[in-house]
């Protein structure tokens, strides 16, 4: 299936990447080129094959329930483009 401009606009919004209208069509072509190429996977018979969830043969490691971190708001917000005290600040969200 080939993507058109509207598909690309929709994907761009899902990914929150602004794409100027003029770039939608060329981008659709590029993406279609890549998608067309990966679709060769349909040649592979994968009936009954488990999709990989982990490349390593390990069991999930876990931590104890102990507080071992935090308490440094300055380190947390130091790099923020906009802040108010120790809060991050963003354009107002209307709910």
């Amino acid at each position: 299936m080939a993507l058109d401009r509207d598909d690309v606009r929709k994907i761009a919004f899902l990914a929150r990447i602004k794409v100027p209208d003029a770039e939608l069509a060329p981008l659709a072509d590029e993406l279609n080129g890549i998608i067309g190429w990966v679709e060769q996977l349909s040649e592979v018979d994968t009936d009954g094959v488990e999709p990989m969830t982990s490349v390593t043969e390990m069991t999930l490691k876990s931590r104890d329930d102990a507080v071992s971190d935090a308490g440094y708001p300055d380190r947390v917000v130091r790099n923020a483009p906009d802040r108010a005290g120790d809060f991050y600040a963003v354009p107002k969200v209307v709910e």
């Binding site: 069991t59 935090a70 947390v76 809060f87 991050y88 709910e95």
Partner: protein, 485 residues
């Protein structure tokens, strides 16, 4: 009792499913070592992992996994030995990673059941669809600045259990009972403090309506983030009414997310772009699947406390309580423990009565809960003992209780101090009886003439004369002997 909405086109029933988010009572967050305590200064409970700094990675808190399993067992649910954390991708200011780590296709807990005891004495079985673990988001504040929202990530990454009911609930009342019952089970288990004011428990409410007899569900709306039992019930009521109105106006109910506004008692649509929701779930590649062994689950099951349903059965069987009283007493773990302490070795029915009427009444009036009760279980037990051995009468006991509730003093001390011991000396009572008969010859003749009801009046007079301390049975007997003997 069936809850039906009368519309112009006939009756409508309400179909409700709940997604309850219950915060796991853990010290640290699900995937980071930062604390979970409520009410801290902004961004002080945030680690670099919670703030989604580049290259930060999650490591799971094993206690949270245990609590989820424990809760699943408490809901009589299937525990999935293999479960998978996935990423739910969406952008929001209080979601620093740009995704929430949650469980989707393979939750840790499968189907279970919650039994509701309805106030009319009936019971309802509500299905649990699943329970999964996920991260909480941070908090946005919209009212601090005219142009900006402020973000505090203290809650971001706190472990939630999302408990999803089947669409088995049929009235606001059932939904309310369900949430209370669930909270009770969580508190018994100790896996969640159930504190709705602090957001430890909140619910998304799925509501649809249909005519009774329809076999398909109609389109539902989801009311997000309702944070009290009362609001849950109200939200269902107004949303169901809105949907009935919509259908009857010939319109369609649309599947959407709505917000409940308690001030206006209405729900309203959350503005959302057409294709805003495509969460693109996929297994989180920073984590491995959670694989538990059966022995781990069995170990948790073996250590499970007695839960409200089992306790209720036991109270009925062992103590001879009514189903209603037993239900009231087991609703809360502390109350049940309090009751058992009082009832131990005593008249259990009497203990139940004293708890449900006198103690609960006084606590209610004082705005306190059982943990804050000024009267301890031992003290209430002692009061019951004083009645049992006839040291005081039931009437005096009520006065003593009031004093206990006010001062937290032991009942024995109060009785001693105030000289409230019952008079059981026959001579003293006889003197009082004779006095009253002598003072009221007319009434005495009535009794002698066969008016038994008037005996009650005499008893009252004698009690009055003895400031209530005379043993009422003895007074009654003496009066009968003297007037009718």
């Amino acid at each position: 009792m069936t809850y039906l909405i009368q519309g112009d086109t006939g009756d409508w029933e309400v179909v409700i499913g709940l997604e309850v988010h219950a915060q796991v009572s853990s010290e640290a967050k699900l995937f980071s070592g930062s604390p979970t305590a409520f009410g801290a200064e902004p961004n002080t409970q945030v680690s670099l992992v919670d703030a989604a700094m580049p290259g930060m990675l999650p490591v799971i808190n094993k206690f949270c996994v245990e609590q989820a399993v424990k809760t699943g067992l408490g809901l009589q649910a299937a525990i999935n030995l293999h479960s998978v954390f996935e990423r739910k991708n969406y952008f929001y200011a209080d979601l620093p990673q740009g995704y929430q780590i949650s469980q989707y296709q393979h939750p840790i807990v499968g189907e279970g059941t919650v039994i509701l005891d309805m106030p009319d004495g009936t019971s309802r079985e509500i299905g649990i669809e699943r329970l999964h673990m996920e991260q909480d988001a941070g908090k946005s504040m919209h009212d601090q600045d005219p142009k900006r929202s402020f973000i505090d990530l203290n809650r971001a990454g706190v472990c939630l259990m999302e408990i999803v009911s089947k669409p088995d609930l049929r009235s606001p009342e059932e939904a309310g009972v369900f949430v209370r019952k669930l909270r009770s089970i969580l508190r018994y288990l100790g896996t969640c403090d159930g504190n709705m004011e602090q957001g430890s428990m909140r619910a998304d409410v799925n509501v649809s309506v249909r005519h009774p007899g329809e076999t398909e569900y109609r389109t539902r709306a989801e009311i997000k983030n309702v944070n009290s039992v009362r609001f849950i019930m109200q939200a269902i009521e107004v949303e169901a009414a809105r949907q009935v109105e919509t259908w009857e106006a010939g319109d369609e109910v649309v599947q959407e997310t709505r917000l409940f506004d308690p001030d206006r008692a209405e729900t309203r649509s959350m503005r959302a772009k057409e294709f805003a929701h495509d969460y693109r779930y996929f297994p989180d590649p920073d984590l491995l699947p959670v694989d538990l062994d059966q022995a781990f689950v069995d170990g948790i099951a073996a250590a499970l406390p007695e839960l409200p349903d089992a306790k209720k059965e036991r109270f009925i069987a062992d103590f001879g309580l009514s189903a209603y009283d037993a239900g009231v007493l087991v609703a809360d773990r502390e109350t049940a423990a309090f009751f058992e302490n009082v009832a131990e070795g005593r008249d259990a029915k009497q203990a139940a009565n004293w708890l449900t009427t006198n103690l609960f009444g006084a606590l209610n009036a004082a705005g306190k809960d059982i943990a804050e009760s000024p009267v301890s279980a031992a003290q209430l037990g002692e009061l019951l003992d004083l009645m049992a051995d006839a040291t005081i009468s039931g009437r005096i006991a009520k006065d003593v209780f009031e004093e206990m509730f006010e001062t937290s003093k032991d009942p024995g001390a109060i009785v001693e101090e105030k000289g409230l011991k019952q008079i059981t000396d026959t001579g003293a009572i006889e003197a009082a009886v004779d006095q009253v008969i002598n003072d009221n010859p007319g009434q005495a003749d009535e009794v002698r003439g066969g008016n038994d009801k008037a005996i009650g009046w005499f008893v009252g007079q004698v009690m009055k004369a003895t400031q209530g301390k005379a043993n009422p049975q003895m007074v009654n007997q003496l009066l009968r002997d003297k007037l009718k003997g």
